[in-house]
């Protein structure tokens, strides 16, 4: 079915190191992509499958020319794309609907769709009429004529914004369309509609790369599927040759090294955290969960499943509609982090830079933000006590800093994470929420963080860990709660904690498994 | 026969117009000034113009731009007044150039403009009534020369930079005092029409020129600060002060012996004259063609000798 001459896109032996926002390669860590071989046939819908961070988004960015590979070659319709010409892909008919919206919220739907291809009328003014008509035509293709092209994008619900995003990509009449998780914000009806359009485009000869987390979508529209893991293409198979979902999940997880985690069983004590019937927004599913002393409890789910939102409500950063949160036997008032901290809770947030550190302040100061009151005398900070306490935790957690007075922004991610952990430990927090504890941290520091977590559990601390890394959840958790659509869909314990099971629940594949 | 019919017609029309004016009610007069806050001169001038206009049967309101430099605001006020079709604008322009376009517009709409205190460019206003600031300051300078016996060092505390009134006073004083004398102007700095800044400028100038004999303050509104600076420098009584404006505050200072003279101007008279002329032109009793472009509202040098009598008609 797929022959070389039909190839629209081919990637050969592509490699890319860690890169920053501008696409520049950074000289450290494991590469984001390596040994990537990938091809897209004409008129094909090719699904990319992989865990968070497996390299799916990076791969399509290479195709679009948004990032430049360090090694390897990219061909579009048999023609090699020179590394120094990133605009080439777009000009040869590749369009992308990315995960992060690229719409301008303050412009109208029509303006957004026409962006970059504005109709210039007489006298150099924009021809609004033509623009509105063109936008309406594109929306009609998606059977989304109910969206008013003259409305501002920011006034649309997220699902409609997603459709506008797709209409915008279609307006360029692309020959290759890349869809990066297009259905994450859509309802089932809208998804059906989108699939109709996708099939229509396919019959019109448009080739598509389709990234998704939802396993059943693969079987609905996919022709071939490529599984990525740790930045490598593991295997490419035609969808009709896939035996069962488990096989794909196994490919996504691989066989992981266990000794990274140093996990050991700790004596389990009384309940540290009890969450009862917690409802964030009216209409959400009520959540119940318990974390006991000495336990590490994982909170798994795909991005957007509501894990961080749940943790923020438990900690009191956000308010909730109804329910009860109890910490060490005390019921917490909603929306009051101070009460949570006083009850012995600590929170290591996922966005270190925005929520974890005060970049301009020193290591010692950052370490003592929570325990400041204890270190003070009538409101005056005891510099000596602060230094002593900071020095104590710097050495216990093995923080690599030039001095206690060094501004924390100059530390590496792993060391910043250790300081944040130290901040809570020094405040005697005995119930810790870790939100993506090892995101953006190199392997050595990861291992150190895991060791610290296990050590804490052994001393009787209770830990709730949110993670998008399956191996981390599997390797560290005594129990796992799996969330989907802002509700807990499953709880796994002990031996039943396995990557494939977690993925299946997180991605909504359990019906498929039961069915097959 | 025809002639007498025509005459009759003209008379009827004239009566008609008069009646129309009477029926339309009073002429509407707008008094526009820089600010009423902290500027007693403008306040008294504006109140006098308004009161006079009301006395003459007009409907009068005061509008203020709200600051010594609020040029744009003043232009907006005039534009609004044109829209409201007022008959007479009695105004103290903030900036002689910025108001020219709106003045033109007002003239085209038949609005009568009378300038007070500060002049505008062009000839869209009927007349400009003010103290002759240059001549008045020269009067003060002559008195200073006399007091210093023809030799010595003097300082000048100027108004805000760019103010034509301030420049006239400064130049009138400086030009006159150095003429035929051995008097030297050793410093001349802006006090921005405010007490605090006049005080700071005076303090600093006194540091550079410890041996000055006399200071000329371009406004009573800055003299308080100048006196504080002199007091703080420990030179009270050793430096003579001449001020400008002739407000009751200034005259009291003369009576207390804190300053030796004050060049008086008459804001109440300016305001009254401006209102009279504006309404006169509107009623047709004053022929704008016969009016001079500048009317000197007069000036007077107040010293210890005539302080008491001057207090009566001071503002």
């Amino acid at each position: 079915m797929v022959t070389g001459s039909d190839e629209v896109i081919r990637l050969r032996d592509v490699r890319k190191g860690l890169y920053d926002l501008s696409g520049k390669t950074l000289n450290r860590g494991i590469p984001v992509l390596s040994d990537i071989n990938f091809s897209l046939a004409k008129g094909e819908i090719h699904v990319l499958l992989g865990e968070n961070g497996a390299g799916k988004s990076s791969l399509v960015k290479v195709i679009c020319g948004a990032i430049e590979p360090d090694q390897g070659k990219v061909f579009i319709e048999g023609e090699e794309i020179p590394a120094n010409d990133p605009g080439k892909a777009l000009s040869s008919g590749v369009a992308i609907v990315s995960q992060e919206f690229s719409l301008c919220p303050n412009l109208t739907v029509a303006e957004n769709i026409a962006l970059g291809r504005e109709q210039i009328g007489a006298g150099g003014f924009l021809d609004k009429k033509t623009m509105l008509a063109a936008a309406a035509a594109q929306l009609a293709r998606l059977e989304a004529s109910y969206i008013d092209p003259s409305r501002k994008v920011k006034r649309l619900p997220v699902a409609e914004q997603q459709l506008v995003e797709i209409a915008k990509a279609l307006a360029a009449e692309p020959r290759v369309l890349i869809l990066d998780e297009p259905t994450s914000a859509l309802t089932d009806n809208q998804v059906d509609m989108l699939f109709k359009v996708v099939r229509l485009l396919k019959s019109g000869g448009v080739s598509m790369i389709y990234i998704t987390h939802k396993l059943k979508e693969i079987f609905e529209i996919g022709d071939r599927v490529t599984v990525l893991r740790d930045g490598r293409t593991i295997r490419t198979i035609p969808v009709n040759e896939v035996a069962d979902v488990g096989e794909m999940i196994q490919m996504m997880i691989g066989s992981k090294l266990e000794n990274l985690f140093h996990k050991e069983a700790c004596p389990v004590g009384d309940a540290a955290l009890v969450v009862e019937n917690l409802v964030g927004r009216p209409g959400d599913q009520a959540v119940d969960l318990v974390v006991r002393k000495g336990e590490i409890v994982g909170l798994a789910g795909i991005v957007g499943a509501g894990r961080t939102e749940l943790a923020r409500m438990i900690f009191g950063i956000d308010k909730y509609a109804s329910g009860r949160v109890e910490v060490f036997g005390k019921t917490l008032p909603p929306g009051n982090p101070r009460a949570a901290i006083a009850a012995g809770m600590g929170f290591i947030p996922e966005d270190r830079k925005r929520q974890g550190i005060v970049p301009l302040m020193s290591v010692a100061e950052n370490m003592c933000h929570v325990s400041a009151r204890r270190l003070s005398w009538h409101g005056f900070v005891s510099i000596g006590k602060r230094r002593k306490l900071a020095a104590d935790y710097v050495s216990r957690l093995k923080v690599a800093a030039a001095s206690l007075g060094q501004e924390i922004r100059y530390l590496s991610g792993g060391n910043q994470q250790k300081v944040i952990l130290g901040k809570w430990l020094s405040a005697n927090s005995r119930l810790l929420i870790f939100d993506e504890p090892t995101r953006g941290i190199d392997v050595g520091a990861k291992s150190a963080i895991y060791r610290l977590m296990v050590d804490l559990a052994r001393r009787g601390a209770a830990i709730l860990m949110i993670s998008s890394e399956l191996q981390e959840i599997v390797g560290m958790s005594d129990r796992v709660f799996i969330m989907r659509n802002r509700g807990v869909v499953a709880t796994l314990e002990g031996g039943s904690i396995a990557g494939d099971a977690i993925l299946r629940y997180a991605m909504g594949g359990e019906e498929l498994v039961r069915g097959s | 026969m025809l002639k007498s019919v025509l005459k009759l017609c003209f008379a009827a029309i004239a009566v008609n117009i008069l009646f129309a004016a009477a029926f339309a009610g009073q002429p509407r007069v707008a008094v526009v000034v820089k600010t009423l806050t902290g500027d007693v001169f403008q306040l008294k001038m504006a109140e006098a113009a308004r009161d006079k206009a009301i006395e003459l049967g007009a409907d009068a309101t005061i509008y203020q731009a709200g600051g010594q430099t609020a040029v744009q605001r003043m232009v907006q006020i005039i534009e609004d007044l044109i829209t409201q079709q007022v008959d007479v604008i009695v105004i103290s322009p903030l900036d002689s150039k910025a108001v020219v376009p709106v003045f033109q517009q007002a003239k085209e709409e038949g609005v009568i403009i009378v300038c007070m205190d500060q002049v505008a460019e062009g000839d869209d206003y009927v007349t400009f009534i003010s103290t002759d600031n240059y001549a008045a300051a020269a009067l003060g300078a002559e008195f200073a020369k006399e007091q210093l016996g023809g030799k010595g060092k003097v300082l000048v505390v100027e108004g805000a930079p760019g103010s034509s009134v301030g420049d006239d006073r400064k130049n009138g004083f400086k030009d006159t005092i150095v003429k035929d004398s051995r008097i030297e102007v050793v410093g001349s700095q802006s006090g921005y029409w405010t007490n605090e800044r006049a005080m700071a400028a005076m303090e600093n100038m006194l540091q550079a020129n410890p041996g000055v004999d006399l200071v000329f303050s371009c406004s009573d509104g800055m003299t308080g600060g100048i006196l504080e600076a002199i007091k703080l420098a420990g030179k009270e009584g050793r430096i003579k002060v001449i001020s400008f404006d002739g407000s009751s505050f200034g005259i009291e200072l003369i009576k207390e012996g804190k300053i030796i003279a004050d060049v008086a101007q008459f804001p109440i008279k300016i305001g009254q004259m401006a209102a009279e002329i504006g309404i006169g032109v509107f009623n047709g009793t004053v022929d704008p063609a016969s009016l001079p472009k500048f009317i000197d509202s007069g000036t007077k040098l107040i010293t210890a000798e005539n302080a008491d009598e001057s207090l009566a008609d001071a503002f």
Binding site: I357, M361, S376, G379 | D39, P161, N195, M199, G224, E252
Partner: protein
């Protein structure tokens, strides 16, 4: 040598001290009568009002997320009018004729000072409430307060300035303790106190943390809104103290007093090494910045330079100071 330089550069006040020394040295050489004790004391006294305001404004800027107080000058105006009107009997207040001679009634003066500072703090509280509770951008909130407070000053005073305050109050503005004028002593004392609060107390730490990263501070259980409101209240209080000093020094209360002072105070804060991004800065630098602003005004008066040249020079010097500060930061990043 290099390490000594690095050590000096680690102080955020280094650039402003350097600038002050350079300008002072140049003036000392080229401007006659500059290096006299009386002139230097003058420069310091003239900087006191702006310096005290700059202390408050520095705290507001440190509080981050665009923290700024444009209303400080207007708050100065309204609080000094309130003070004068408490002291001066109404019938005398309307009398613009004379330099008033008022008795030293200490109870009245005390009441006046309390009202004056109360008004300043209340205006500051409204600013803080608009920023922290309503969520207005500080620029907008304080811009509104700037207009409102100035209007209030004009309204309650009927636009009339008044000359002459009780001598015991004027003492605060014009007399000296040994060689140090009272306003300068007050400025230094307040700067030292606030410096200690900022660097040595839990309140100061939370302010720096809130300014440096509001989200992190919430996660650490700090009272973010309370901290925000408090800095605006302090800023209002210091504007009122500035009003007392200004009125006492010029022996006058004027409804237009302090117009434009907020911009001088903001300049002083920036000159002193406070980052407009929030989260870092110091009040000692702000006071030095205020001293610098009156320092460069001084030779202009001494040398009788026309004012037109002054403003561009001041603008250029502010840019130079900020560039120096950026260079300093780059140098001290080295380790």
């Amino acid at each position: 040598m290099a390490t000594a330089l690095k050590r000096i550069l680690s102080f955020k006040e280094a650039p402003i001290v350097f600038l002050i020394l350079v300008v002072a040295l140049l003036c000392g050489v080229f401007v006659p009568n500059f290096l006299t004790a009386a002139n230097l004391v003058n420069i310091l006294s003239q900087s006191a009002t702006v310096g005290i305001m700059a202390i408050g404004i520095t705290l507001v800027i440190i509080s981050g997320s665009g923290g700024i107080d444009l209303s400080a000058g207007s708050i100065l105006g309204v609080s000094s009018i309130v003070m004068a009107m408490t002291i001066i009997p109404p019938e005398l207040y309307r009398d613009t004729a004379a330099m008033l001679v008022l008795p030293n009634d200490y109870w009245v003066i005390f009441k006046a000072l309390v009202f004056c500072m109360g008004v300043g703090m209340f205006c500051g509280f409204l600013n803080g409430a608009m920023v922290a509770w309503v969520g207005l951008p500080p620029f907008i909130a304080t811009l509104a307060m700037m207009t409102a407070a100035r209007g209030l000053a004009a309204y309650i005073s009927a636009g009339i300035p008044t000359y002459g305050l009780p001598t015991s109050l004027v003492w605060v503005g014009q007399n000296s303790l040994w060689f140090v004028p009272v306003p300068v002593a007050l400025m230094i004392a307040l700067a030292v106190i606030v410096h200690i609060i900022l660097t040595r107390t839990t309140y100061g730490m939370s302010l720096l943390a809130v300014g440096g990263n509001r989200e992190t501070s919430r996660f650490c259980g700090m009272n973010v809104k309370g901290t925000l409101i408090s800095v605006y209240v302090i800023c209002g209080l210091f504007a009122a103290v500035g009003g007392v000093i200004l009125s006492a020094r010029s022996n006058q209360a004027h409804p237009d007093a302090g117009i434009g002072y907020e911009l001088s105070a903001i300049s002083a804060a920036v000159l002193g090494g406070t980052s407009m991004m929030g989260g870092s800065g110091g009040v000692l630098g702000a006071v030095l910045g205020a001293v610098f602003l009156s320092l460069i005004q001084n030779p202009i008066n001494l040398l009788n330079i026309p004012v037109a040249y002054m403003k561009p020079i001041m603008g250029a010097l502010i840019v130079i100071a900020v560039l120096l500060d950026q260079w300093r930061k780059k140098q001290s990043i080295g380790d």
